[in-house]
């Protein structure tokens, strides 16, 4: 029996049709796009096309797209780049309590370098609070970073309102689109965004590639010095097959924006309603205002890693916000900041779907999960206390 993969937030397959398009750039059109001779031509043209597709996905111009090695690098470039550029002596960075560690760790590392860091509070759905934003966004803030939606619990952020508050005090706005780009249309102009992070892997393109949208006129400092590629913002010989793959993945994502996400959303809603019928089991995050692919459920009295492993033995892959499932053994900061108790965070599982998810997949999860919860609750000293 095939495995059921419900951990798309952690990793996704590359679409075979994307890989197909990449292949010639490994072994045939392997030239360097900067080469004057014939072998530079195909890679250069392919890169231009890819840049156009990535720009097209988010309503940007191709010149506003800087290719990087992935979301983490894009985020580091956006945040460190903005702070180092030192706009009018602004020294502050504002992030949210539900940001990915790529954002929180970057902000923390800049704090150690003498910048200051503030974190927007979130409500119990994991949505950043505008009153918190009004308090924390002051004239000495250089940049606000906010995810389009929390990758973990899926709740959308009030991006337009936050961007407008940030711009009111002259701060730049960076949005992390890593988790939303595949499933939610986005337009940098209508959201009035200065910097935006995209990840190829999360668009079902290859890993090791990402992009940073840098609005025309926005000045940031580069992080990687060298040959001056990507208009000086990101040196290093271009990963042409990767960039071609990200371009194709972006093109397909845009093309399928009207078909894949509604299908995923409907499967996901079935999963949520089935799982929350299990006794003492609840949805984390907003019930409707959330990423289509995300179902984050907490099962009281039991622990996430145990559930994850039993699901795994049943051929189902999921992720957990449990401390026991983390490298640092700390429970999910997102869940805690939403007001969950540690033991509730411990009992949370994240089911993330993809365009490849089928009705049979969600059915399998719904078949298996009640038994697993029951078994583990038998083992738990908390049950029925």
């Amino acid at each position: 029996m095939n495995r059921v993969y419900m951990d798309s937030t952690t990793a996704m397959p590359v679409r075979p049709e994307v890989l197909e398009v990449m292949l010639p750039y490994f072994t045939v059109h392997y030239g360097n796009p900067s080469s004057i001779h014939e072998d530079g031509k195909m890679p250069r043209m392919a890169m231009d096309d890819a840049r156009g597709h990535v720009a097209g996905l988010i309503g940007a111009s191709p010149e506003e797209v800087v290719f990087t090695s992935g979301a983490t690098e894009s985020i580091n470039l956006a945040l460190k780049g903005a702070l180092y550029a030192g706009r009018e002596g602004r020294k502050g960075i504002v992030i949210t309590a539900v940001d990915h560690r790529a954002v929180t760790a970057t902000a923390a590392s800049m704090e150690r370098k003498g910048y200051f860091l503030r974190e927007l509070a979130v409500d119990h759905y994991g949505k950043a609070r505008l009153d918190s934003a009004m308090d924390l966004l002051t004239k000495d803030i250089s940049i606000l970073s906010v995810p389009f939606a929390s990758g973990e619990v899926g709740t959308h952020q009030p991006l337009k309102e936050l961007a407008s508050l940030a711009h009111d005090v002259g701060a730049l706005v960076h949005v992390d689109l890593t988790m939303s780009a595949l499933m939610e249309p986005f337009d940098v102009r209508s959201f009035d965004i200065d910097l935006a992070t995209l990840s190829s892997a999360d668009l079902m393109g290859p890993r090791g590639v990402g992009a940073l949208y840098v609005r025309k006129g926005v000045r940031i400092e580069h992080l990687l010095s060298g040959g001056g590629h990507e208009r000086g913002l990101r040196s290093g010989s271009e990963n042409v097959p990767g960039i071609v793959g990200m371009g194709e993945a972006s093109r397909i994502a845009r093309e399928r924006m009207g078909t894949d996400p509604p299908m995923v959303l409907s499967l996901r809603d079935g999963l949520i309603s089935g799982l929350t019928q299990i006794e003492d089991s609840y949805l984390n995050g907003h019930p409707t205002d959330r990423l289509p692919q995300n179902a984050n459920i907490r099962f009281q009295y039991i622990e996430g890693e145990s559930m994850l492993l039993l699901l795994d033995l049943n051929g189902i892959s999921v992720a957990s916000g449990s401390a026991c499932a983390q490298k640092n053994l700390e429970p999910s900061k997102t869940l805690i900041s939403m007001g969950l108790k540690h033991e509730e965070a411990h009992g949370s599982l994240q089911f993330s779907l993809s365009p490849y998810t089928t009705k049979a997949d969600t059915g399998r999860v719904l078949d298996v999960m009640p038994g697993i919860v029951e078994e583990l609750r038998k083992l738990s000293p908390l049950t029925g206390r």
Partner: protein, 151 residues
Amino acid sequence: MARLEYSKKVLEHFTNPRNVGEMKDADSVGTVGNPVCGDMMELSIKVTDDRIADIRFRTFGCASAIATTSMLTEIVKGKTLKEAEELKWDDVVSNLDGLPPVKVHCSLLAVEGLKIALYNYYKKRGIDRPDLAPKETEAEHVHSDEGPSCV
């Protein structure tokens, strides 16, 4: 063994834990840990002729906590109290063919739970065994202003 992988024995004990449950007529119960810290365990023992005649456990925790406790119950069942007192974490974990390094932490509670069950058993009989006494646990800090401080 790769970073996050459990041995076959750990998985076997995790999926088929021995001696699970509450014990209605326990001679002593040891509880240790705190749900707020993500790990909590309850160990009940029945003692006959200075031997652990029966033992039961319930664990709120990860697979390694469950497997370690299950293995521990198997080891000490039938042993004398003296033998049980001398049980070390090493003995349990080596019987499981080891644990991933990050999971060592989660396996420490099992032996501690046993000690506390023994402490309580002696105490009921008027014997003070400070060497088996519960350490001041994180549970006592739960209601402080700074929230729980788990170790």
